[in-house]
């Protein structure tokens, strides 16, 4: 190991996460860095306090034998200590590997083995139990640090250590070797791997994406530049730590700009916590925005007549001019006055209720967002924008700029990134945020980049007249119907999912004459709908099999068909038959990925009898499905499902 004096000055001034942390602690020691709600009260940790904690954690880890080049597993909900543990690993020249906290133990085995994890932070008893359950397959795992002592009294495994003890040990180590931490930080290079993020893996084993300090910080700085993020901003950290977006927002952008990361009290309290904290900066996948809107709609349907009418009236006003006002376009004085009134009576209180009163910028990504949904938020004055990227590109490829926002595109390339369209309309990317390599998988790394060093995203896209990128589907999922016309399943599924009653949809049609769909109803929205019509049901299976519900879904699909028929490119792709599945698609049953994307091929083979029933014209089909419950036990859900027909419309293109 070389001493710091032997390193070049250039290397010394390279940005790494710990150096950014120490810089914030020096420049703005008293500014809030992290907030966390404990016992009902928000506890704030300033930058200087955070730096001390990281120092102690790093020294504690070092005293336990953590050295350069090692990996540190992170399993838990978003907690300041877990973010600080990642920074501690960075300080020691190690690499954090955050894991999905809701994965079952056996799913974690592969990642823990592949990343050769010897040290891990686990939030609580639940996560510790999972690690101990699979510990026999993890000979490398020697240290597990847990944050919450609750229920841990009875454990005497030698690998376990409470974080308070680790901090105490670190404090003592730091006192005996006060220069150790700074020396270690000085050794860090920005070309070191700052995180290994495992891709959820729609096919095959997950791959470990290695991102360097340089690429992550580059992506973080670029995003801060686009939206002028400052230490005065605050973000809500509630998305899985294993997901690239959370690392980008709660680590890279946080340290690039110095804004505050707010951690919710518990997974279920996010909406109340949002209201209390009022973040200025917010990120959520479309699903979350949709869930919020659904709950608003349901509550409005239950509201009194006057309130409902007022809401409907002002939402129409907002629909006419809200988004235009946000974009700074010209709007008539009469509309402006109405919007001002609406803001006082409806939009303001609504934003407050959603915890979005202070939002300056809100982002969505990961999936296509419905036009109505997108417009709803913008019309009530929430500056919702889209960005595009994947784990391999630090979720930093395209980003919409203020005043240039469209629902069907993801915006222009981010600062420092080049985008071009390759074969099969595949989106190719090059620039600051590209991954270094896949962990221990050179073949995959080589395959991921083309000869010019462009990363192959695997997404199919087009660049429109404004120079904005529009994503259509996965490049490999785009296929043709039997008549040779383009079939982009995700495009249709997304349109279906824009209906609040439909939670999930899987569309089939590749190489076939017609297009058909499996539908998952949204239990909350359809349940409420059923209650108001006095339709009794005992649970999901019962409600999904109800004839009235089938008619409801049928009317939704008919509406979508009608809209589709007006489109130029994909007007022929209308659904003629569908059925409502008797169980919800679930990541535990491998039907969805952990990020809740449909595994279409798997679903098609798992429910093969249903697919063949649809295409052989059967009116109904019996099916029994294996399900795995949360505790790991298995059971069978069975039902006889009816196939329903939907009218299709002649395509304007054909006429």
């Amino acid at each position: 190991m070389s001493s710091p004096s032997q390193l070049s000055a250039d290397q010394l001034h390279q940005a790494t996460f710990p150096r950014l942390l120490l810089e914030h602690a020096r420049v703005r020691p008293a500014y809030p860095a992290y907030r966390e709600k404990y016992l009902g009260i928000w506890q704030t940790e300033s930058w200087s306090e955070a730096a001390i904690k990281v120092r102690e954690l790093a020294c504690g880890l070092a005293s336990k034998g953590f050295t350069r080049g090692m990996t540190l597993g992170i399993i838990g909900d978003n907690r300041p200590r877990l973010y600080q543990a990642m920074l501690a690993a960075h300080a020691l020249g190690g690499t954090p590997v955050p894991l999905y906290q809701d994965a079952v133990a056996t799913e974690m085995t592969y990642v823990l083995q592949d990343a050769e994890i010897g040290f891990a932070f686990a939030e609580d008893q639940e996560q510790v139990d999972k690690l101990l359950e699979i510990a026999d397959n993890l000979p490398a795992l020697h240290h597990i640090f847990y944050l919450d002592p609750r229920g841990m009294r009875a454990y005497d495994d030698k690998r376990l250590c409470l974080i308070d003890d680790l901090l105490n040990q670190g404090r003592a180590y730091n006192q005996s070797q006060p220069k150790f931490f700074d020396t270690q930080v000085a050794l860090g290079k920005s070309s070191d791997v700052s995180v290994i993020l495992y891709t959820s893996g729609t096919t095959g084993k997950p791959k470990g994406v290695c991102q360097t300090h340089a690429s992550m910080i580059g992506a973080g700085r670029g995003a801060c530049e686009v939206d002028a993020l400052s230490p005065a901003d605050g973000v809500m950290a509630y998305l899985p730590m294993a997901w690239v977006g959370d690392f980008l927002f709660s680590m890279a952008q946080c340290l690039a700009s110095g804004f505050t990361v707010n951690c919710p009290e518990a997974r279920e309290t996010v909406s109340t916590d949002m209201k209390e904290i009022g973040p200025t900066y917010y990120f959520a996948p479309p699903r979350v925005y949709e869930g919020l809107l659904t709950s608003v709609t349901i509550r409005m349907e239950d509201a009194g007549r006057i309130k409902r009418q007022m809401f409907d009236f002002f939402m129409q006003v907002a629909g006419r001019c809200g988004a235009e006002l946000l974009d700074g376009k010209a709007v008539s004085v009469g509309q402006q006055i109405l919007y001002f009134l609406g803001n006082l009576l409806v939009y303001g209180p609504l934003r407050n209720n959603l915890g979005m009163s202070n939002i300056r910028v809100a982002y969505t990504a990961g999936e296509a967002i419905g036009p109505d949904l997108f417009r709803f938020y913008r019309s009530i004055g929430v500056n919702l924008k889209q960005l595009y990227g994947q784990t391999e590109t630090c979720a930093y490829v395209c980003i919409q700029r203020d005043g240039q926002v469209k629902y069907d595109s993801v915006g222009k390339p981010s600062p420092g990134v080049e985008v071009k369209i390759g074969q099969n309309s595949e989106v190719l990317v090059r620039g600051v945020s590209m991954m270094d390599h896949y962990y221990k998988n050179d073949a995959a790394t080589e395959e991921a980049f083309d000869a010019d060093g462009y990363f192959r995203t695997g997404d199919a896209g087009v660049i429109d007249n404004d120079g904005d990128l529009r994503i259509i589907d996965r490049a490999k999922d785009v296929s043709t119907l039997a008549n040779g016309k383009v079939f982009a399943p995700k495009y249709i599924e997304n349109k279906l999912k824009f209906f609040s009653y439909i939670k999930e949809a899987v569309v089939f049609g590749s190489g076939r004459e017609t297009i058909s769909a499996f539908v998952n109803i949204d239990l909350e929205a359809v349940g409420n709908w059923a209650e108001r019509r006095n339709i009794a049901y005992s649970g999901y299976v019962d409600l999904a099999g109800n004839q009235a519900v089938a008619e409801l879904i049928s009317s939704c699909i008919e509406k979508m068909n009608k809209e589709l028929s007006k489109e130029i490119m994909l007007g022929h792709a209308q659904i003629s038959k569908f059925l409502v599945l008797h169980k919800e698609l679930d990541p535990d049953d491998d039907e969805l990925t952990r990020t809740r994307k449909v595994r279409r091929g798997f679903v098609e083979s798992k429910y093969a009898p249903l697919v063949s029933a649809i295409y052989s014209g059967l009116p109904e089909q019996f099916i029994a499905t294996q399900v795995r419950f949360e505790d790991g036990r298995e059971g069978v859900v069975s039902a006889t499902l009816k196939v329903h027909d939907v009218p299709t419309f002649s395509n304007s293109e054909d006429c």
Binding site: K37, Y38, L39, G40, R150, G151, R153, A154, Y155, E265, A266, E268, T269, T272, F629, E630, D631
Partner: protein, 261 residues
């Protein structure tokens, strides 16, 4: 993995008999409860399980017999006194204040610990405010413990049944009891809620060292978590011992499976 060693007898029930007119609810029942154990009372419907708990916490006065708690023997218990001595309970049919929030419901469990007078409390002034902060902190620990942070301010009546049961338990815990009487804590719950409740009960014992007496119908639960089991049938004790002993007791099997009717 027992970390809290089961200690000496803390509560002893001796020859309790209780009848309502001609109906004999309990006949000559004796058993004891040791410190830091989970003691289950099981039996078919109408066996007298709830009546037994009601005798222990002073709702019913038995005609004969005595109850000894921490060396003090009583011929009948007085419910306020029982609460002061550190015995708390939850109810089969939830006796929560439906219109009050979760926080307020749990705060009522601190009632016996509150010293300041009602006027100061009403004004929330001076010592009353300081006291309330201390009690609120205790209550917040319990909320954290039972994972009901998301429901703090919601009126109890709006919560699903499983959560109401948890609030009922939270209120009993707020008393910081030495002995906790749970009347069918898992009735009407689904599998997942039952598992959660089991975990909470075990954790209450481990973390707070509370001795637990519980009535439960779910045999799986009883056999899993209890240290010793008492079996009642038609007001009589027909079995007493470890889950394994009780499981193989002929009289118990007969009471549960019945003879042909």
């Amino acid at each position: 993995m027992a970390t809290r060693q089961i200690g000496d007898v803390i509560l002893e029930v001796q020859n309790i008999s209780l009848s309502f007119g001609g109906v004999k609810a309990l006949t000559d029942i004796s058993f004891n409860v040791k410190e830091h154990e989970i003691r289950a009372i099981i039996g078919p419907n109408g066996a007298g399980k709830s009546s037994m708990l009601n005798c222990i916490n002073g709702v019913y006065t038995p005609q004969s017999g005595s109850i000894t708690f921490r060396g003090q023997t009583f011929s009948h218990m007085n419910s306020r006194q029982v609460a002061k001595m550190g015995i708390a309970r939850t109810f089969q049919n939830l006796a929560l204040f439906k219109g009050m929030s979760v926080i307020d419901n749990i705060m009522t469990g601190r009632n016996l610990h509150i010293r300041s007078n009602i006027l100061l409390q009403a004004l929330r002034w001076g010592p009353a405010e300081r006291e309330e902060i201390i009690h609120r902190e205790k209550v917040e620990h319990i909320i954290d413990f039972l994972e009901i942070q998301a429901h703090r301010k919601i009126p109890v009546g709006q919560l699903p049944y499983g959560l109401q049961k948890r609030v009922d338990l939270a209120r009993a815990l707020a008393m910081e009891p030495q002995v906790l009487l749970l009347d069918e804590p898992m009735a009407g719950m689904n599998v997942e809620e039952k598992q959660d409740m089991c975990r909470f009960i075990m954790d209450v014992k481990d973390e707070f060292g509370t001795t637990i007496v519980l009535i439960e119908h779910d045999m799986g639960v009883v056999m899993d978590i209890s240290d010793r089991v008492v079996v009642l049938d038609y007001g009589k004790k027909i079995g007493d011992g470890s889950p394994e002993e009780v499981r193989t007791n002929d009289e118990v099997i007969q009471a549960y499976l019945g003879t042909s009717h």
